[in-house]
């Protein structure tokens, strides 16, 4: 894989290593969220009834809608890479912009969802919440921390994809040098995967 010898005039780069580096970073994210999922499962194990009751407060329709939005944004992200591989720069930018728009849609839904909870007095440390059984307090604590951290990742993802759009516009990302876009895509898909698990664990407890 000695790239310098074949193309001395070119700047040395190793896309496989770049992607590997991104995957290693994703593994640290896996530990971050993994720890929280462990916390969740232990508390659900000790307070099954309270978790069941508390989960009924969550809006399944908004949750399902947001899942669909995030899955679709994952599709458009993958399509933007497929487009740049085919030298379709404009199409790639359009797909990236749609991804950002969908992410905004996700966050707007999140805003209304959390807003409704706050309106009903359910937020960390509120009197309404503290008067509930301890299992429900734990459920909502985990709900706010885990979906909040996930939401933070969505916001970071939007910023990263916005940078990628600028890079694509300025031809920093091109049909034969798009590893940055791939790394952004990997991050975005991880955010999607985390939601794939958060959704049934919080919204669909029977």
């Amino acid at each position: 894989m000695s790239i310098q010898h074949t193309a001395a005039a070119h700047i040395h780069r190793d896309d496989v290593a770049s992607r590997m580096g991104m995957w290693l970073f994703l593994f640290t994210e896996l530990l971050l969220f993994g720890g929280m999922f462990i916390l969740y499962s232990v508390y659900r194990f000790t307070h099954p009834q309270d978790f069941h009751l508390a989960a009924k407060e969550l809006n399944t329709v908004i949750g399902t809608f947001n899942t669909a939005i995030l899955l679709t944004s994952s599709l458009t992200m993958a399509l933007s890479i497929a487009a740049i591989q085919r030298r379709q720069k404009t199409l790639s930018i359009i797909f990236q912009l749609i991804t950002i728009l969908l992410a905004f849609g996700f966050m707007v839904n999140k805003y209304f969802e959390w807003g409704a909870k706050f309106h009903h007095g359910i937020y960390p440390g509120s009197d309404t919440l503290l008067s509930k059984p301890s299992g429900e307090i734990l459920f909502f604590g985990l709900y706010y921390v885990m979906t909040g951290l996930h939401g933070l990742h969505v916001i970071i993802g939007v910023v990263i994809i916005a940078f990628m759009t600028v890079f694509t516009l300025r031809d920093v990302i091109t049909h034969d040098n798009y590893v940055k876009l791939e790394a952004a895509g990997l991050y975005w898909h991880l955010v999607d995967i985390i939601w794939i698990f958060l959704f049934p664990l919080f919204y669909l407890i029977t």
């Binding site: 999922f37 232990v42 899955l71 599709l75 591989q85 040098n177 898909h189 049934p200 669909l204």
Partner: protein, 101 residues
């Protein structure tokens, strides 16, 4: 150009494949919501997690290009997931022991 082809010979999927995966992901979401209303007792959580795992597998292999990456990537991800599962299993072995005593 040799350099470029070496870097990018993989990870080429058609648009159609991505749309198919997206359709499968949406269908699985529909199934997991529909099934959530039915009480399977103890396997209810297992059902939801199984569906989530299938969705994750699709995202990992197609959207994240693991299927077309070199074997090293797949081994890396496999090992990372294995250790995550080990930490879950060990914790629950320990925890159920503590609870019982």
């Amino acid at each position: 150009m040799e350099n470029h082809s070496k870097n990018h010979s993989h990870n080429q999927h058609g648009y159609g494949v991505y749309f198919l995966v997206w359709l499968a992901l949406m269908a699985l979401t529909g199934i997991t919501v529909a099934v959530a209303g039915i009480n399977f007792g103890r396997i209810t959580v297992a059902t939801a997690l199984t569906i989530a795992s299938i969705k994750t597998y699709l995202v990992l292999t197609i959207f994240m290009h693991l299927r077309s990456e070199s074997k090293t990537f797949r081994v890396f991800v496999g090992v990372a997931l294995l250790f995550l599962i080990i930490s879950f299993v060990l914790l629950f072995t320990d925890y159920s022991f503590i609870v019982r005593n």
